[in-house]
């Protein structure tokens, strides 16, 4: 046991951890951050984020008009199908408004809504440079406040004595360390990067999933705490998954691997058969559904087929499409059965009707007739060479299983609070979100509950 234990240990190094660290340090506590990633990869999934969903009455920072608590909550209820803890959700929403100036005061800089995301200009404040620049700014601020940061410090175990954490064990550079801080904040994310755990929860198909964010969210601390009876929340088998470019790296592909072309395409499985209505709704409302749809196909892979007239209707993505002058050649290049693909496209083309009302950004009702499954919008025949293809895979964003917290971000054991343990960020987001996701809400949860956890942890440390 080291004698120079800090007042507060914060496990994790992303947005929630940093908000907690800064808040606690400003309250006078000696704070240590244990970040399992090496410095270039610090920040967990926060480094891939781009905005913060924020309630506001009147223009605020980069945000225009206003966005009320009720509208925000309604948006959340819609995406989660009502599976939301309303009390905690309202707390997060209400607190978000004061967070934005706090973020600015602590070094975060915002920018106007990005090109291609104008629909979010009222609700989401975009970080200039994205989440990594936010993380960098917070590390600068934290270090200025005297927060000690240890990288590649992998926490292996929290020792519990009844309702109190007494010791944290971690390894760093092959050496084991133990500390006994007065307060502990867990902000180390979900378990999605542990693909074995994911496969146990979801089934063997999960081995073929790509992880959109950090490879360091392996859920080590989460598992350790749940094993010791800390109260859990969220469906342990579920993760938030979206359809992304199948050529994306296994980890950390981030935003650039998204593909926005599905509504203008047909999507087939490896047998060159369609399996779902590609034109059901605009893509921002459907990309999450497609993560699951692709996960249900053989080998967990889908193939998007478009023709020349659709190529420039969507945001460019990181990998160029596979290009061919004929469908047979495209099938060859993509490893699809050529005859079957030609037949599927022919059937689709034959069921397309009048396309004169085609409108790429609105539900245009240009649909197929007599086709199963139908395509109910943007159904234009695929006829104009060259033809283009992308592969689609399931990309996991985060997992729902987490630590159950109350309005003070405090963890519980056997219906009693753990006296010196708080949680913030993805690791407790399941306390609020039961399913689904609302863009920018993860950063709201992290910021609001990070600050609460930091304040509570400091109050506890200062009182003992």
């Amino acid at each position: 046991m080291t004698s120079d234990s800090p007042d507060i240990a914060i496990i994790g190094g992303g947005n929630a951890a940093l908000c907690a660290a800064i808040t606690a340090a400003e309250a006078g506590a000696r704070v240590l951050i244990l970040e399992t990633a090496p410095k270039p990869y610090r920040g967990g999934n926060s480094r891939h984020t781009r905005n913060f969903r924020c309630m506001h009455h009147g223009p605020l920072g980069p945000l225009v008009d206003s966005y009320t608590e009720e509208e925000y909550l309604a948006d959340l209820m819609k995406v989660t199908g009502g599976k939301t803890d309303e009390g905690l959700a309202r707390l997060a929403i209400r607190s978000s408004e004061e967070c934005l100036p706090w973020m600015q005061d602590h070094g975060v800089r915002f920018q106007p809504s990005l090109s291609g995301t104008l629909s979010l200009a009222r609700t989401n404040a975009f970080f200039l440079g994205g989440g990594k620049s936010l993380v960098n700014a917070y590390y600068r601020t934290a270090e200025r406040l005297g927060v000690q940061v240890e990288y590649e410090a992998a926490v292996t175990h929290l020792d519990l004595d009844d309702d109190r954490v007494t010791r944290i064990d971690y390894t760093q550079n092959g050496k084991s360390h133990s500390i006994a801080p007065k307060s502990v904040v867990v902000a180390s994310g979900g378990f999605q990067a542990d693909t074995d755990w994911l496969a146990r929860a979801w089934g063997p198909a999960a081995k073929n999933f790509l992880i959109r964010g950090t490879p360091y969210n392996r859920g080590v601390v989460l598992a350790d705490l749940l094993d010791q009876g800390i109260e859990q929340v969220g469906d342990p088998t579920q993760c938030h998954a979206v359809a992304i470019d199948g050529r994306a790296p296994k980890f950390d592909g981030g935003i650039v691997t998204r593909l926005d072309c599905v509504p203008f395409s047909i999507v087939v499985n490896k047998d060159a058969q369609r399996f779902y209505d590609e034109g059901e709704d605009v893509w921002p409302k459907r990309y999450a559904i497609w993560g699951r749809l692709v996960a249900a196909q053989p080998d967990q892979v889908g193939y998007v087929i478009i023709d020349a007239k659709s190529l420039e209707l969507f945001m460019p993505s990181v990998f160029p499409p596979i290009k061919a002058d004929t469908l047979e050649e495209l099938a060859d290049k993509m490893g699809l059965p050529a005859d079957a693909l030609v037949q599927t496209v022919a059937e689709f083309n034959n069921s397309c009707g009048d396309t004169s009302q085609f409108h790429p950004t609105e539900l245009d009702g240009v649909s197929t007739t007599g086709l199963n499954p139908p395509k109910t919008n943007w159904a234009r025949p695929i006829t104009e060479p060259p033809f283009y293809g992308y592969s689609l895979r399931t990309g996991v964003t985060f997992t729902y299983l987490g630590l159950k917290v109350d309005g003070r971000a405090q963890c519980a054991i056997g219906n009693r609070p753990v006296r010196n343990l708080w949680a913030a960020g993805e690791t407790m987001a399941g306390s609020i979100l039961g399913q689904g996701y609302l863009a920018g809400f993860g950063m709201t949860i992290g910021t609001v509950f990070g600050r609460i956890a930091g304040k509570e942890a400091a109050a506890h440390a200062n009182a003992t």
């Binding site: 270039p40 990869y41 480094r47 891939h48 781009r50 800089r109 920018q111 106007p112 990005l114 090109s115 291609g116 970080f127 200039l128 440079g129 994205g130 989440g131 990594k132 620049s133 960098n136 700014a137 600068r140 790296p249 950390d252 981030g254 935003i255 650039v256 998204r258 420039e312 945001m315 460019p316 993505s317 990181v318 160029p320």
Partner: protein
């Protein structure tokens, strides 16, 4: 014009990743211009590269820098293209290739400048001149410096014409030039988008150090240039030859400019030595430092000449100063000095495309 295909290909690869991300849109002029394209021709990349002021905000914010497999380093990729474009567009091209990356050659030309002036001072010794003109007659100075001044103007004119064609720019309008001058006057692209400055000498910390130092160099140079121009007018139009007193316009401009330029160059070298070289054109580092050193020496020797103009050190100082000025003029199209012209051209094209 044959730019290096591997550099272009690397910049293109990176630009395509940036175009799929767009998180950096607010930093500078590069990203809105980049996001307006779907594909990047060589000319597009050259234009983006010359718009980039190497503020490095995007590098430190980037989620895809090494060790990530995408290995993004846009400031370096664009710096390499920029450097390559200055060499390829130079007139004559061989001179661009020779000097841009070669600090030793820049130093050699400077020494040759000294030598030429020594020779001139001895061979063309003035008869009956006063002050500086006792060392080298006014006519001899004009005979040396008029061609040395006109040559770079012609050379840069040819290069900018080539640039204009290469990036596919349209007919020039005065409003576009004004917009470019406004941007350059404030060094808007080194403000970082948020106004906190750029990331240069201390990783991701935003400061105005580089912007302030660059302004000192730029305005210092412009003041010195103005001093010389005013003096030329006074000499030829009003028949008032040098030397001028302390409170004359040429001296006030020249001393202020010389001080700014000297301090600016020293500080710029210090900043560059602290910054991470791998976020710029690595191979051009020596050439850049040598150029800044030469520019700083021009300013410093000018100040020294003023301070010690009445002492026996004057003739040697005059020769050193004029030798450095000669080297500086002749090398302008082939050293970092050229960047100011390309930058203005790129900002003008950008204003044109924004309509």
């Amino acid at each position: 014009m044959q730019m290096q295909p591997d550099l272009l290909q690397e910049a293109r690869r990176q630009a395509e990743i940036c175009n799929a991300c767009r998180y950096c849109e607010g930093y500078c002029s590069v990203f809105p211009a980049l996001h307006a394209e779907r594909a990047f021709a060589d000319g597009d990349l050259t234009q983006l590269a010359n718009l980039c002021h190497n503020c490095r905000g995007c590098y430190y914010a980037c989620q895809y820098t090494a060790p990530h497999e995408f290995d993004l380093n846009l400031p370096q990729a664009l710096a390499n293209i920029r450097q390559d474009s200055w060499e390829e567009l130079a007139f004559p091209r061989a001179a661009g290739k020779a000097f841009q990356k070669n600090g030793a050659l820049i130093a050699l030309v400077t020494v040759l400048g000294f030598a030429l002036l020594f020779w001139a001072a001895r061979a063309l010794a003035s008869v009956g001149g006063e002050g500086f003109y006792a060392v080298l007659s006014h006519n001899a100075m004009v005979a040396i410096f008029l061609p040395a001044f006109l040559f770079p103007l012609v050379s840069i004119g040819v290069s900018l014409r080539r640039y204009w064609r290469h990036v596919g720019a349209g007919p020039l309008r005065p409003g576009q030039v004004l917009a470019a001058l406004r941007s350059a006057a404030q060094m808007k692209n080194l403000k970082g988008g948020h106004g906190d400055g750029c990331n240069f000498e201390d990783e991701d910390r935003c400061t105005h150090a580089r912007r302030a130092v660059h302004q000192a160099v730029m305005y210092g140079f412009l003041l010195c240039f103005a001093a010389t121009s005013v003096a030329t007018v006074m000499h030829y139009v009003f028949g008032m030859p040098a030397p001028y007193g302390l409170f004359s316009v040429p001296k006030l401009l020249g001393i202020a400019g010389g001080l700014l330029l000297t301090v600016g160059c020293v500080e710029m070298i210090r900043l560059k030595l602290r910054a991470d070289r791998h976020l710029g054109a690595v191979r051009a580092f020596g050439g850049e430092l040598a150029f800044i050193g030469l520019l700083g020496f021009v300013a410093f020797s000018g100040l020294a000449l003023y301070a010690l103009g009445q002492t026996p050190a004057m003739p040697i100082l005059l020769v050193l100063h004029l030798g450095a000025v000669l080297a500086f003029f002749l090398l302008t199209p082939f050293t970092k000095m050229a960047h100011g012209f390309y930058r203005l051209a790129a900002l003008t094209v950008d204003a044109q495309r924004k309509g």
